[in-house]
Symmetry: C2
Subunit: 229 residues, 2 copies
């Protein structure tokens, strides 16, 4: 029987690369996505395409209400910042940061893994491009893994150990794209923009678009996405 992996799947470039890594390591994929009051649903459409692309055994989309809690440009009416300098992106916690988002996502992944009897969670956090987000740091992932192993039956019964795989942790965007391409990922199915036009076209100006465009440029590969600017 194939080992099962729970893969947090946003439909973006990073989590799609992570799905390719898990697939390549021989796991059977159980994709998990969230409908969390994002401003746009292109993300979920991409997530569905990605789960299908990798032949996921199951794709669970969970409705969660982060809007009710508030506090982020990604789930409220605060404006998404445009044209930020990379230096600023890296050093300042952006207002697109959603409070405790990765913790909530990983908690659901943990529940899903426990029910599936999977010991492997995959997440596309990255400490280089997103160092402004506290919950993307390696020490955070390590602390979550430790907590997770105390939180569940697995931990108590001590049979196996749950592992959080963060294979992009130390890669640049260029490195992530190169990794994905080496595994045959078709990035045209992904979506990265924080603030797409009504027709779904990527804005080309938010942090996420800028980092992506820059990554493709550095990798010397053409980005299959079309941008408004």
């Amino acid at each position: 029987m194939k080992k099962k992996a729970v893969v947090l799947t946003s439909g973006g470039l990073d989590s799609t690369t992570v799905a390719a890594v898990a697939k390549n390591e021989g796991y059977e994929l159980y994709c998990l996505s969230f409908n969390y009051g994002q401003r746009h649903l292109q993300e979920l459409e991409s997530a569905k395409r990605v789960a299908e692309y990798f032949g996921a055994k199951k794709h669970l989309i969970i409705d969660i209400d982060l809007k009710i809690i508030g506090g982020s440009a990604l789930t409220s009416d605060i404006e998404v910042p445009k044209h930020r300098e990379e230096k600023e992106m890296i050093t300042k916690i952006p207002i697109t940061y959603v409070p405790a988002r990765n913790t909530i996502f990983l908690s659901y992944a943990l529940a899903f893994a426990e029910v599936l009897q999977s010991n492997d969670l995959f997440i596309g956090v990255n400490a280089i491009d997103y160092s402004g987000y506290p919950d993307c740091r390696p020490e955070y992932i390590e602390a979550f893994e430790k907590m997770a192993n105390l939180a569940t039956k697995v931990g108590v019964e001590g049979i196996t150990k749950l592992k959080i795989h963060a294979p992009l942790q130390n890669l640049s965007k260029k490195g992530i794209i190169e990794l994905g391409l080496s595994l045959g990922v078709d990035y045209s199915i992904t979506h990265s923009c924080y603030d797409p036009l009504p027709d779904g076209t990527s804005c080309g100006e938010c942090d996420s678009c800028l980092l992506r465009k820059h990554g493709f440029e550095q990798a010397g590969v053409e980005d299959p996405l079309h941008y408004a600017k």
Copy 2:
């Protein structure tokens, strides 16, 4: 300005006692409850009464879908066990255990706390009566607190430290009831049963009812609740 506390409020005896402790320590209460596909909604009705009783500044009820993940008698059609021996309750992980529930609840509490700029989360976990639940153990709470301090802006900016208060951790049910009564709690507003009758009456036979009844007996106080059996 009063310090703000986020209090996980289930409407049960334990979390109600915790709310009383937080109130008594001078916090302004922000209660947080979940509509998580419990079999019965009496729990939420009690939670509302409790929040009101303590004059909570806000009571957030978040819809979360644990049913879609499955794996527990509390969120599915598996039968709730009755008449279990206390020894069995203490040593065996019960099928009423909801995978990663406290982790999911605490993650939302963390997000709420971050938005409120609160550094204090209160939770009614108890290591004595519920030692069968892995996510009630002190080492779990400690690991969550450590993770939480790495997960959020507070952690990065290092200004303050988030604390998870679990004041019932080492109390017996008798001790919890005595603590609550010493703080003037009216336990008639609480609800503990896992499997109430259609009219809301507590069954008197599930783990939760049995532990509660036993606690009141040991405290030598009459339980204000009426039981079917």
